[in-house]
Symmetry: C2
């Protein structure tokens, strides 16, 4: 079967799920695809580009919340999904464009609609996102507690402005 970016990404993800990030090497990946090591390099310039594409794919998997609920519940849903989707990623590879921008746009939109000005929305999103990535998939209770505090603080700011 023909190689493709999709097929390679799928195999890479499977390898990581099975053996962790240390188990992902270009050589093992090629082996898994039943192809010679250098074949993968037709589709990704180097390993770094592959890792970036994997983070990108993970970010794309985050479904954006509907605009029906309050800004608070919208944000909770967005961050909860983000943390689950991106939490496993290796360090400092959490914000690839353009899928990263898609998440940022969604987050900033929610905060702007809530009433924050451009700068506060940007800072608040940075804070919320950094916070969310600090938690693993199974730390629901811990994640929620701090998020409530953060959102309470933001709401107090909104109230002070009104």
């Amino acid at each position: 079967m023909r190689l493709s970016r999709e097929r390679i990404l799928e195999a890479a993800l499977e390898l990581v799920e099975h053996d962790g990030w240390n188990g992902l090497s270009m050589r093992r990946l090629a082996q898994e695809l039943d192809v010679w090591p250098m074949a993968v390099y037709r589709y990704f310039r180097d390993k770094d580009e592959l890792l970036e594409a994997m983070a990108e794919a993970a970010a794309e998997r985050v479904s954006l919340p509907s605009a029906r609920g309050s800004w608070r519940t919208q944000m909770q849903k967005l961050l909860d999904e983000s943390r689950r989707a991106l939490g496993g990623q290796p360090a400092s590879r959490a914000l690839p464009a353009p899928a990263g921008r898609r998440l940022s746009e969604a987050g900033l939109g929610i905060l702007r609609d809530a009433g924050l000005d451009e700068q506060d929305a940007a800072r608040a999103w940075r804070a919320l996102f950094a916070y969310a990535l600090g938690f693993a998939e199974d730390e629901d209770a811990e994640f929620e507690f701090g998020l409530e505090c953060l959102l309470d603080g933001l709401e107090a700011r909104l109230a002070a402005r009104a």
Copy 2:
């Protein structure tokens, strides 16, 4: 000159500062110490143990805040120092014992003194610490904004309890 854990850790840190975490290999480290690759293994069982010791040393460098100011400024100082000291560490290696416990004890103490019960203090510390590690050394303004919100939220919780 004789090898020692201290001398090895020092050389490792220098290597990382110079070439980043990817530049740190057991072989290059030995070369820098003018010793054969396997000599380092007398002091650290494997690379993982070396990395752990490096994180440990970084955590030890955090100076704990004096108990003079308000709990809020104490916490700000503690987290600011923690983020500067531990921010550069490779992923998921941010909480080694016992230096990690030293930081946790300090943080939990501040929160308990502020009036939080044991469970809330634990959750709040987890939230604050996760938040702090999400910021690089040079992101002072961004870090501070979200921290204010988090602390405001915690204060509201304390006020509601009184």
